[in-house]
């Protein structure tokens, strides 16, 4: 198990290197000009000399490979560089925003797993029953609905029509202290939207897994021995029915990140994902590269985690290594 984890970590190093180079290459090929993005409206009256000086100061006149190598070597020394978009060190940008993104994503993930498992088990008990039919069709519809669309819909209904929940931000506009109550009420809509957009996968996997398990011999045997329905369901069917879901937890991480990207933008949630969108459109190389490394690492870790969980839950599965 430790050997597998170690091998995966070693493998991650070249992957991360290639990914950062890819980010620099794609950003350099994009039609966006980092100097224009930096100067903003002031750039529309600035002289060419002023703009050229900015280009040199920001280091964007360097060739692609040199710029990437500079970034990589200083990143390895612990210096992530400065964000031209936020006018502050990249490390500060990440430190200020990371926590809010993790809070949002973790809450949403929890909502999706708990709700998905619960509904999945209930639906599997009576396949074809009214609950199964309602939730299944809702799940298929949700699977096709983009997260930002759900977000706009939620704002329209809960914030504008019912006026029961705030439409965005981390706290009320007038408040400048971040309190638990404020954040909790502002977290409800974005976390619910992100969670609900992830829910169908968990629901469908659990429903299928548990339904299959209920039809298997050991479960029928348990029933025949007169064990209670509860024990049969939770002790036998759920245990084997949950296995595919463990793989799912890891593989949903990339979806969760892209989902968070859109949800944070819609709800003006001051997290790291919203910064990613801005970093990309302003060709903020340092910030973009650091954020991509983080996202890639999260995906690799997610995969590792699901493999480890699967191995722990099912002794028949050997660790690859």
């Amino acid at each position: 198990m430790a050997r597998m984890a170690g091998r995966r970590v070693l493998f991650a190093v070249p992957v991360l290197g290639v990914v950062t180079f890819g980010v620099f290459a794609v950003a350099a090929a994009s039609p966006f000009d980092p100097v224009k993005a930096y100067a903003g409206t002031a750039g529309l009256t600035a002289s060419q000399e002023n703009l050229d000086q900015l280009r040199a100061n920001l280091g964007v006149d360097q060739p692609l490979v040199a710029r990437w190598w500079d970034w990589l070597t200083s990143a390895l020394r612990g210096d992530l560089g400065d964000s031209s978009l936020m006018r502050q060190p990249v490390a500060d940008v990440i430190a200020e925003r990371m926590g809010w993104s993790v809070l949002l994503a973790a809450t949403a993930f929890l909502v999706a797993i708990l709700l998905g498992t619960g509904l999945g088990v209930l639906a599997a008990r009576r396949p074809g029953g009214w609950l199964d039919r309602c939730v299944s069709s809702a799940a298929y519809t949700l699977e096709a609905a983009p997260a930002f669309w759900l977000g706009l819909l939620a704002i329209w209904f809960f914030a504008l029509k019912l006026d029961v929940l705030p439409a965005g931000g981390l706290t009320d506009a007038a408040s400048d202290v971040v309190t638990f109550g404020q954040v909790a009420s502002h977290l409800v809509l974005p976390a619910a939207v992100l969670g609900v957009s992830q829910l169908p996968w968990f629901f469908l996997y659990v429903r299928q897994g548990v339904a299959d398990a209920l039809a298997e011999d050991p479960v029928r045997g348990a029933r025949a021995r007169g064990l209670s329905e509860r024990t049969v369901l939770l002790g036998h069917a759920l245990r084997s029915g949950m296995l595919p879901m463990l793989t799912l937890i890891g593989s949903r991480v990339p979806e969760l990140i892209t989902g968070a990207l859109l949800v944070e933008t819609v709800f003006s949630w001051p997290g790291i994902a919203a910064a990613t969108v801005e970093a990309a459109t302003s060709v903020d190389f340092s910030l973009l590269a650091a954020l991509t490394v983080l996202a890639t690492a999260a995906v690799l870790l997610g995969n590792l985690l699901s493999d480890l969980l699967y191995g722990l839950a099912d002794p028949r599965v050997a660790f690859d290594g």
């Binding site: 002289s47 900015l54 400065d82 006018r87 439409a167 981390l170 007038a174």
Partner: protein
Amino acid sequence: MTARSIRVAVATALVTTLSLTAAACSNPDGAGSGSGSASTSAVVGIAYEPDSLSPLLGYGKDGNSKIFDGLLALDADMKLRPALAAELPEVSADGLTYTYKLRQGVKFSDGKPFGAKDVVFTYRTILDEKTNNASRTELDAVKDVTAKGDDTVVFTLKYPYAPFAQRTVLPIAPQHIAGEQDVNTGAFTTRPIGTGPYVLTKWSKGEKISFTANPHYWGGEPEVKKFTMAIIKDDDVRATRLRSGDLDGAILPPNLAKGFADDKRKKTYAATTYDYRTVTLPTHNKVTGDTAVRRALDIAVDREAMVDAILNGDGKPAYGPVPTDSEWFTPGTERPHDLAAAKKILDEAGWKPGKDGVRVKDGVRAAFPLWYLTGDKLRQEHALAYASDAKKAGIAITAEAGSWEVIEPRMKHDAVLAGGGSPADPDFDQYTLLKSSLAGDGFTNMAWYDNKAVDAAIEAGRRSGDKAERKKAYDTVQRELVKNPGYTFLTHIDHIYVVDDRFGPLTTQVEPHDHGLASGPWWNVEKWSTEGSGGSKK
């Protein structure tokens, strides 16, 4: 790690989180306490967010930055008055030396005294090319700035520059803080400290900027103790949150502001501006470079109709960068809509109608593309209206949308729907728009306008210290623009704001093109009275 140690670690983390949360909840400054905060706090919704709050990087360069003060400031009538300077500057006879006596006893909000060294530091840092300031060109005239003792600052200029005093509204940064860190990315760029009426309490990027009143402000402590700017990019969301009472005021597009016309508790303010929309007519294009075509377009366009239909009446026809109600405007240079005269000019110049109705001269079709910024609805509507007016005169204009990356390489030959405007001095707009030596230099003189008489006049206008002489120079420019328009100026746009009535009647300044943070009725929020209908103090 054993299960036991994991449990201990989790428990510790939980206890820490809970105690931190509890501490935050019980903070007496918190919004939750809110006793009487309704009358002493204001929340306004704005559409744009600054990139940085550091004056060294360009924040607040046109004055009025709330956290900072400049040497001078502009009042409601756009007249200069002393701020950190004790009086207006002394200008030498040759116009090359500006001497400022500084106000005594002013302190930065961290308690350290303000002095001449801070002024010298601010200007020298901005002029340093290692500083990433995109507006450095505006201080091009400055040769050097030196301190004479602790209460006098002397600027020496490279050439006489009459509007220089208008530039010294830019905010002064504290040397003892900003000088100790990286100018471009240091903490000062997001957590600034100044001498102004408000102190920044929090800037949550993309969400809001919060201020509290500076109790030690040299101009007296503001009555509005808490001031918050919520950054809401979407117009509809801003209007909705204003209606729901979440905001006390907001900038709105005219059509959404209309919805508040019948609301007795809200007042609508239309701020007059120097914010123009214009069409560049590049000299390198065979069609737009022909003076006859330029003159014809100038009178074929129906500006009044644009003001009514596009701006809902909230604006004015524009005949140049100077608005018609400005003291610098030259009466008699208005060009009324006259399609027949436009056709006559084209006929006489040899532009004859072709088979498809589009005029042709020497095999050149009177057709050109007009670019506007993608997503800018106002520019799009102006461009389409302009194209439709031109078509009636036999000139085919195709309006096309693009980002600045797409538009910039085409500016030399294609027309662009541009915008701009800075009210403080006529030199600011006209020099960069019309000076032939600045053609194609970045975004200056986008039309490659080249007119010897105009060059001489704008040069005279910036060098002379005498107002009557300057007026004469700018009159010349405006008369030349009638004979040879390098741009078709279309409209000057009012900026519309809706604000809660409880702050009483408010005023607005003449506003620039940029949607500065402190534009709008809250330009003097530090002078607002919170006694209800008493109105704002002067």
